[in-house]
Amino acid sequence: MILVKEFTKGIIKENPIFILLLGLCPTLAVTTSVSNAIGMGCATTFVLFFANIIVSTLKRIIPSQIRIPCYIVIIATFVTIVELLMKAYFSLLNAQLGIYIPLIVVNCIILGRAEAFASKKSILSSIIDALGMGVGFTISLILIATFREILGAGTIFDVKIFNDYKPVLVLTLAPGAFLTLGLLLGFFNFIGKKKG
């Protein structure tokens, strides 16, 4: 039961984008299209999964004073290894996800979960936490991207919706990302307040 809660909290109660406000930098960048959002979401979930496992395994070895530099070294090393392996042996996957990998290193969700969760909890709950957070992140990205892609580019999954629709160009640019994110944040907070 606890594990189920560990999973679902990442999607609603502690949603990384709408509630924890983590990883906003890549969020603003990749949510111009739904396919970008899915790519980024999958890549982040993958890295988060293994980063949580590694940090949770090493939690007794790492002294608490220097835990942050240790996490950074571990995460950056892991991401770089994944990048090299992908380039060498999975060139198709690399063509799809390659551009997201450098963005993941600077994604604070990974460091945030290592610090707030994996360094204190067991490996199993860290895995569940990573999956929940990853799914929550992906869903939120898709939500923002759907809004921005339909109105900003007039397409969904790169497929044109109407033939003669003039897109609201500002939504595909950075200001549009802030507007969309702000409105959705307000919406989520409104719902959260009503419930709580």
């Binding site: 949510t31 970008n36 002294p63 240790c70 551009i99 640019l173």
Partner: protein, 203 residues
């Protein structure tokens, strides 16, 4: 005294963690490096046909002083044009591309080989616009898809004197990608510099 000892202890632990990280990275890098280079060569030889569509045969790689290039030949073994590899600094990291020119210096095609531009903005230099609409998907109609990104397509048929980036659409200039002027300019610069170097090389 106790505090100093704990600082030294932390320092040593961090040292070992970084050491392990370095060793891991060096090992993986040395294992994957030859394969990555091979993948790159494969990608380049596959792209030759895209950037010089009218050439039938290509020479081996020619490594010049300033630039790496290939000769494109016609059926009767006559020289048709050149394909060269060039790069320029984009918004994040280098953008590497291969471009083909005929003997008059007209660009026949370009293809992005490597970039690390922001997904959704700069990455559009290498994105193909779909011609599908919801209606055609529902009806199940076949829509002819292009396989050249629209940004790269602009270069086809241009000469070096036309390689200028503008924010608005114009017939013989390059139109910048909205929100990604730096990336657009970098691609154009790589092509322009590449042609200049190629000219010096084949003189």
């Amino acid at each position: 005294m106790r505090e100093e000892i704990s600082i030294i202890k932390s320092g040593i632990t961090l040292f070992f963690i970084t050491l392990i990280a370095i060793l891991l990275l060096v090992t993986v890098d040395s294992i994957t490096k030859p394969t990555i280079l091979l993948q790159k060569e494969l990608e380049v030889s596959k792209s030759l046909k895209t950037v010089l569509p009218q050439a039938v045969k290509f020479s081996e790689k020619i490594v010049g002083d300033k630039i790496i290039y290939y000769k494109g030949l016609k059926e009767n073994d006559l020289l048709y044009g050149y394909a060269f590899i060039s790069s320029a600094k984009g918004y994040s990291g280098n953008i590497e591309l291969i471009a083909g020119v005929d003997l008059n210096g007209t660009i026949q095609g370009i293809k992005i080989l490597k970039h690390a531009e922001t997904p959704g903005l700069g990455s559009k230099i290498n994105e193909v616009k779909s011609e599908k609409t919801i209606l055609s998907v529902i009806k199940g109609e076949k829509v002819e898809e292009k396989n050249i990104p629209w940004f790269c397509e602009q270069f086809i048929g241009k000469k070096i004197s036309n390689l200028e980036v503008l924010k608005t659409a114009s017939e013989n200039k390059i139109q910048a990608i909205t929100g990604a002027t730096i990336s657009s300019k970098a691609v154009t610069k790589a092509v322009r510099e590449g042609i200049k170097k190629l000219r010096q090389e084949i003189k």
